[in-house]
Symmetry: C2
Subunit: 385 residues, 2 copies
């Protein structure tokens, strides 16, 4: 089951080299849809330019896009970048960050670019947790990927999983399977303030409800696992504001330190909505540690993936935490080469299934973004899957 769907992937550097041709081909297919004669693409990375792992991701992503034949340059939202600024990377290569230049036209429209660089498409690898900067607003003649409301300033996990409910409902009917097999239960609490301890009752009730539903599924399938629930900020990312509980009382008796940890996410955003999601214990293990597969897609194509591994976390905890490391998926488990002659649980087939779930999640994300487009009537989150 998918537990997260990131529209600003930060781990392209964790894909194996063997997957590069696939990524390039997918990017080629994608880019010709957006600007048939595109030559220039502007990539906007995160501002935390001192994280060398993240910079390796940007280098890899820019490299993939350049191999398609595009001219790719990096524009920074960071106001401190006032001139072209080279960043040296751990591997000896470097990235050039340039200040964004916004050009207002007489008719009220605006274009975004760099000095002597007018891009046709703008690829956001900045998740906009800090809000949508004015620089990016009202850009209507260039393709902005993903759209601004995909950023965490606007996006809510509950909307995504509500859309995923719809997608899985249809898919499960086609395949005659129980949708629960690929879709974890979830609930939502909308008025939470961890500092002021409001919303605890809602969270406790949701945890109770979810644990009951999970346990009855476990019983029906003869699964001897302990049910647990992941509590996480509805608008958070970076693995911040996440905890694992197996009893409703645990969300009511948080100590000050725990509450502080849950109260704020990236860029200091206050948490006010909380997603409570069925915990999915991972069956993947690597080097004796808990591991979870992370599948990468470009456009609608699965292009590879990697394991997120954490040596000191159990298979019932979020592995997205300091201390994690990443291991590229080997070619054999590239997510797009099922082996019809091997059993369903064989690695190529397991990973193919992960790839299928990733494609369903991407489909859900497109529905989610359509439903949450500013000006559109919002569809209420349907938490009762």
């Amino acid at each position: 089951s998918p537990v997260d769907m990131n529209l600003f992937p930060g781990g392209f550097n964790n894909l194996s080299d063997e997957m590069l041709p696939l990524a390039i081909q997918a990017a080629m297919a994608a880019i010709e849809k957006y600007c048939a004669d595109a030559r220039n693409l502007l990539l906007i990375p995160e501002n935390h330019s001192r994280n060398s792992f993240y910079l390796m991701n940007v280098l890899r992503l820019a490299g993939i896009l350049r191999q398609t034949g595009l001219e790719v340059r990096l524009g920074s939202l960071n106001p401190e970048i006032t001139q072209a600024t080279p960043l040296e990377l751990a591997n000896g290569q470097s990235l050039l960050l340039e200040p964004l230049i916004r050009q207002e036209n007489a008719n009220g429209s605006a274009r975004l670019g760099l000095a002597d660089f007018d891009p046709c498409a703008i690829l956001l690898n900045n998740d906009l947790s800090a809000g949508i900067p004015e620089l990016l607003q009202g850009i209507d003649q260039q393709v902005l990927l993903p759209p601004l409301h995909a950023g965490w300033a606007v996006r809510r996990k509950s909307n995504h999983f509500a859309a995923f409910n719809q997608v899985v409902e249809d898919f499960a009917q086609l395949l005659h399977i129980d949708p629960w097999l690929i879709n974890p239960y979830f609930g939502l609490c909308e008025n939470v303030n961890f500092h002021e301890r409001t919303g605890e009752q809602c969270m406790a009730e949701q945890v109770d409800l979810l644990l009951g539903r999970i346990r009855s599924k476990y019983k029906a399938y003869g699964i001897s696992e302990e049910a647990f629930v992941i509590v996480k900020a509805d608008a958070g990312t970076y693995g911040m504001g996440v905890m694992s509980v197996n009893d409703a009382s645990q969300v009511k008796n948080l100590n000050r330190k725990q509450r502080n940890k849950m109260a704020v996410v990236k860029e200091g955003l206050e948490v006010s909505q909380v997603l409570l999601q069925e915990g999915v214990p991972t069956i993947e293990q690597l080097e004796g540690s808990s591991a979870e597969p992370v599948v990468y897609m470009i456009d609608r194509y699965v292009v590879g993936g990697f394991y997120r591994v954490h040596q000191s976390r159990s298979r019932q905890e979020s592995l997205n935490a300091p201390g994690m490391h990443f291991v590229p998926l080997p070619f054999e488990t590239s997510c797009i080469l099922p082996d019809g002659k091997a059993p369903p649980e064989a690695a190529p087939n397991r990973f193919y299934a992960y790839g299928v779930v990733a494609r369903l999640a991407l489909l859900a994300a497109s529905i989610e973004l359509e439903q949450t487009e500013p000006g559109e009537r919002p569809s209420p989150a349907q938490a009762d899957a």
Copy 2:
């Protein structure tokens, strides 16, 4: 320079396993263009069902297409296939050949399929050297790939290279390069009968003309090679009806055996048009033998390639001859991963260039098929590049 462009590839089995994901992804992108809701694809292979190498190609091609999610079945043009016929392959797998069923509709249109199998698209891997069978004529509601006039019953190499002239002209202008670098000279003799020794004068004149032009290019670039010309049937394939000459007299003094060899090609077709093409000595060597790169594409994507190697042929002869063997290109030279930090002649860059030339050749093929579409005004071959 490209010396051949095959629309009915017979060597998918020679691609390395590492290239499979790329082929599958390209096939996915392709198939959704032709029938958005396609589930059924009919693959029509060659009739020579006892060639185990060819059958491995069909198995691989069908496998790639099945991995995209299609239902793929094989329909045979061979009249001896009157019922579903399993063919055992060398590797223990098997293929099921089924008889084609043509359904005539009241309105004069017709559909092609198998028992209980109505395909949306029909992929021809049969080059129709023996002519266009009635079974395939007038199929107008199913996508036929490639179109019937791409078969050797209609297709002429000279039309292809005339279209390639146009494409390279534009491309060379964009890149400010001499088009000759990627486009070999060619000439055409239209009324040749090797048995009756007609057309020898034309061939000798063309060879003379071509050798002169090649030698002057060699001189301009300081190339110390001996110029040679490949003489081949304008409508032939399978490496039949091909010879290498380095003097005009050689096409006038063919002995009976040589003339018999040149006079007929696959399926016993009589040769009446002859293409005379600048010989391109290969610089590739493998295991001490002459080798030439063969690039494979699906839709508009390069998906890999292999070396054609011949131990007893020189780099000035056609390697497409009995005794050849095939070696998959290693991943590093996958034709789509140029290495900007390596010199132009480094393997990844050499093979990337081969991939670019293959893409130009495919573009030329699409122009060629447009220009030769039945009912369209044929464009005369422009042999003076």
